[in-house]
């Protein structure tokens, strides 16, 4: 577990170095090819498409929000700089940045409503923009713009020697790759990957999903605009709406990204090296007779890639060279948890809630008259209760009593119709889950919500980021929690392959890594055998002992009775009773709710 910060730093700097070396390599190839325009042109195309596809990869690959209308931003960059140059004589070096700003504004306008909605809306909205821009530009008389050759050379980004363009594009590619590399091992990158895997869980781990997606989208759009400027000045004599905003641009970028490998650093460059020369060759051979042949190839490549090689070439190549990571002997056993209290605090600092300033006698959470209905069905009706600090509060109730709805309301996934929620005296009724997480409300889910394709450690790291000041601290927290929860043996395995028990442990680890003051635990014992259920109960007890207040929802009452300090009984969305576990389970209404009126009549003297 102890990846030293220095080792980590070394690994990262090695990756930076390889990016710089590859880019220097590209520049040298270009230098040695000499003035052969055809070869230089193909090299230029490869680098440019690799850079554009990598930019596209940020939001679409890493963030998982595929921008189908990416040509909008490439086209905007191209048209802005070319029009500024032609009409006002503005240097493309300046026009490029104007293009970037306009592209970012357009992306913001598109993203603002659609990134909140179901993914289909985002897809449709992003496609619609370039489709409508083409007729508008055509109507304005900008269907074809001849880029004038002024002979100012460097100032107007016009060179007769294509090697200068290659050099500029290599610098751009290096910039894009360095941005991606920095992103990959930053808090932002982890947040983006987490969103891609499981948006609900990401939100619960203190990640502001909406603005993270938006930021990635704006970065991608801005870089796309730069690619557009370089494309039009480096390769085109005539800029057309088709070459700027056309569908074939996006299909090219999509196929390069997918064939190379979605969300990989090197994938797009490698795929571009394969695909671009093929496309150019076909275009040169058959382009005159069959004008659509290049698009047919790219369209077919796209369909083929999606069906047969979803992970792309790069992952395959990498797989050949990479040996499986060494794995410490799996130490994970349900029994391992028992020792947590005894030895948990040995080497690693114990999981503790953040310092609590407010008065110890105040309830940590105060629920006042919460009501919530779904299309006429009342799920919660006027529920009020206080949660004392440092205690374990159990909420019981039969299926459909409104337990999970209550959690979702407390946690900010749902907005209550009426009522107020106070956390440490602060009104948090309309807070989002990620805000609550930062305030100190952690959550585990009834149906485990892990980031399946990330490793166990990365999962926990995502939670740790919500409180940690920097990467190293997050690593330390995550490492500690993983160790403490007995997951160390699985730290480098993907979360998707864990057993039910391990998945539950992971959920707890991730929630604890956010250093909660209050932990909401939703049916932790569902699907576990009695032995494992006992272990969970022990785990909850030790969590509470470390000073974290815990609210547990549980369907199986017996397990809860043993650990809860206080219990609340829900039925039909109403709070039926509240008291010590013994009081609650002997309440006639609760007995009736669980076992029916007949059973109560027979067995309970009321």
């Amino acid at each position: 577990m102890k990846i030293g910060d220095r080792l980590q730093g070394l690994l990262v700097s090695r990756k930076y170095l390889s990016i710089i070396l590859v880019c220097i390599g590209c520049a040298l190839i270009s230098l040695f090819i000499g003035t052969d325009r055809y070869s230089q042109r193909i090299l230029l195309l490869i680098i440019l498409w690799a850079a554009a596809s990598s930019s596209f990869n940020i939001i679409s690959g890493y963030g998982g929000q595929v921008v189908f209308g990416y040509s909008m931003y490439v086209g905007t960059g191209a048209y802005t700089s070319v029009l500024l140059f032609k009409l006002l004589g503005v240097s493309p070096w300046l026009g490029m940045w104007v293009g970037v700003i306009i592209a970012i504004i357009i992306a913001f306008i598109i993203g603002l409503p659609t990134l909140r909605l179901h993914g289909a809306y985002f897809a449709v909205a992003t496609i619609a923009f370039p489709l409508i821009t083409v007729p508008i530009l055509n109507n304005l008389g900008f269907e074809e713009i001849i880029i004038p050759f002024t002979g100012h050379g460097a100032l107007s980004m016009q060179f007769t020697d294509l090697r200068y363009y290659v050099l500029i594009c290599v610098l751009f590619l290096a910039g894009v790759l360095l941005i991606i590399q920095t992103m990959e091992c930053s808090r932002f990158g982890y947040a983006l990957k987490a969103i891609n895997q499981n948006e609900t869980a990401a939100e619960g781990m203190g990640i502001d999903t909406y603005w993270t997606k938006m930021t990635a989208f704006l970065i991608s759009a801005g870089l796309g605009a730069i690619a557009g400027t370089l494309y039009s000045f480096g390769l085109l004599y005539v800029l057309t709406t088709f070459s700027g905003f056309g569908l074939s641009i996006i299909v090219k970028i999509l196929s390069i990204t997918i064939v190379g490998g979605i969300a990989t650093l090197w994938g797009p460059l490698i795929a571009a090296i394969f695909l671009v020369p093929i496309g150019e060759f076909l275009n040169a051979q058959f382009g005159n007779r069959y004008p659509g042949v290049q698009d047919i190839i790219f369209g077919a490549a796209l369909i083929f890639a999606i069906i047969y090689m979803r992970e792309g070439i790069w992952v395959k190549i990498r797989g050949c060279f990479r040996t499986a990571p060494q794995r410490p002997t799996p130490s994970i056993k349900p029994g391992a948890m028992k020792d947590m209290e005894k030895q948990g605090a040995l080497e690693i600092e114990p999981i503790k809630p953040r310092d609590v300033e407010s008065n110890i006698h105040d309830p940590i959470l105060k629920i006042e008259g919460i009501s919530k209905s779904f299309g006429g069905v009342l799920a919660l009706e006027n529920v009020s209760f206080d949660v004392p600090k440092g205690k374990i509060v159990g909420i019981i109730g039969p299926n459909g009593a409104g337990k999970t709805t209550l959690f979702n309301v407390i946690n900010g996934y749902l907005k209550p119709a009426k009522g107020k929620i106070f956390f440490e005296g602060k009104d948090v009724t309309y807070f989002k889950p990620h805000d609550l997480c930062r305030l100190g409300v952690g959550r585990t889910f009834q149906v485990a919500q892990t980031f399946g394709k990330m490793t166990v450690l990365e999962n926990v790291l995502t939670g740790a980021f919500s409180q940690a000041i920097n990467f190293a601290e997050a690593h330390r927290i995550a490492g500690g929690v993983v160790q403490q929860m007995g997951l160390a043996g699985r730290a480098y395995d993907q979360a998707v392959g864990l057993t039910i028990w391990e998945t539950k442990s992971l959920e707890f680890s991730r929630a604890l890594a956010t250093k909660p003051k209050l932990l909401l635990v939703d049916e932790p014992m569902a699907g576990l055998n009695p032995e494992e259920a006992n272990q969970i109960a022990e785990m909850i007890k030790s969590i509470a002992k470390s000073g974290i207040t815990v609210i547990v929802i549980e369907h199986v009452v017996q397990n809860l009775v043993k650990i809860a300090d206080w219990m609340i009984g829900l039925d039909d969305g109403r709070k039926v009773t509240e008291g010590t576990p013994q009081q609650v389970i002997s309440n006639p209404h609760m007995i009736e709710a669980y076992l029916g009126a007949k059973w109560r009549e027979r067995h309970v003297k009321s």
């Binding site: 809306y121 489709l131 409508i132 083409v134 508008i136 055509n138 299909v251």
Partner: protein, 293 residues
């Protein structure tokens, strides 16, 4: 005033013709949660074959072609679903991957048409293509009127099929809860193929009808698809009724906007409404509770 009446009539005629296409798109999205980006290209393909070339080769009337297109494109759609799209459905990224695949298909169809039949715009020349009736001072195109009635028939047929037959009900059940309906013995592969085939077939028939009064070229799909997207978003994505209503509104809007906008920019008005809906009422006109049919 007469101009306005003329535009409203044109708007209704256009709206219903878009409605047929949008209904297919909404059916596919409603059942499989797939955005079929190639949707308009199927309509364009139908304009060439059977419509244009059956008339050209054998003198077959385009209105008959519309009915020939139904089984032809049903088989095509069913085949594409079973051979290509089905491989991806059910994976976590299915929504995105299917959109990417259909994007590839759309590019393939458009460019194959381009390679085989050239990019020259084509037009169908039948006695009714440019003929009109005049009601007062309002002129009504004959081809469009015939198309209107056939379109209404197709829509009625689709509703009848979905609501009154066992297979139609199975499709609706699969749309509502795929897992549950699979447990009830519904073969999802078959039902999805059916829904995709049906969606493509009705769209192709709509394309045939459209070809009787509009010139077209291989890339005509790019012009229509945005109208279809707008109609479907207005209708709340999954509702066929909503999509029809959306298409009608879009058709009216597009024609009436001719009062202030130049002809080439008709679709800009459509687009503005589309964006406004995304901001203000993303759940569509009928709201979240809108059912599929």
């Amino acid at each position: 005033m007469e101009v306005l009446v003329q535009l409203i009539v044109a708007g209704i005629l256009a709206g219903v013709s878009y409605g047929v296409l949008a209904a297919g798109l909404a059916l596919i999205f409603g059942v499989m949660k797939i955005i079929n980006f190639a949707h308009a290209e199927f309509a364009v393909l139908a304009m060439y074959l059977p419509t244009y070339f059956f008339l050209h080769w054998w003198g077959l009337d385009p209105f008959l072609s519309a009915f020939i297109a139904l089984p032809m494109f049903f088989l095509l759609g069913y085949g594409i679903q079973r051979l290509v799209i089905e491989r991806i459905i059910g994976t976590p990224e299915a929504e995105t991957s299917t959109l990417i695949i259909t994007m590839g298909i759309s590019l393939l169809i458009a460019n194959i048409i381009l390679v085989i039949w050239s990019g020259a715009p084509r037009m169908i020349n039948q006695p009714y293509t440019l003929a009109t009736w005049s009601v007062g001072s309002v002129l009504i195109n004959k081809a469009q009127t015939y198309s209107l009635f056939i379109s209404l028939g197709l829509i009625f047929g689709l509703f009848w099929f979905l609501n009154r037959t066992m297979i139609g009900k199975a499709i609706q059940a699969a749309a509502d809860d795929p897992e549950g309906s699979a447990y009830m013995g519904i073969n999802l592969h078959f039902v999805y193929g059916l829904a995709f085939g049906l969606g493509v077939a009705i769209t192709a028939a709509g394309g045939c009808l459209m070809a009787t009064y509009r010139p077209f070229n291989p890339f005509y799909g790019e012009t229509i698809i945005i109208i279809l997207f707008a109609s479907v978003v207005l209708g709340g994505m999954t509702s066929i009724t909503g999509a029809l209503l959306g298409a009608l509104i879009i058709g009216l809007l597009q024609q009436v906007s001719a009062l202030i906008l130049p002809l080439a920019l008709q679709n800009v008005a459509v687009f503005v409404v589309f964006v406004l809906f995304l901001y203000l009422r993303p759940q569509g006109i009928l709201g979240k509770e809108g059912r599929m049919v």
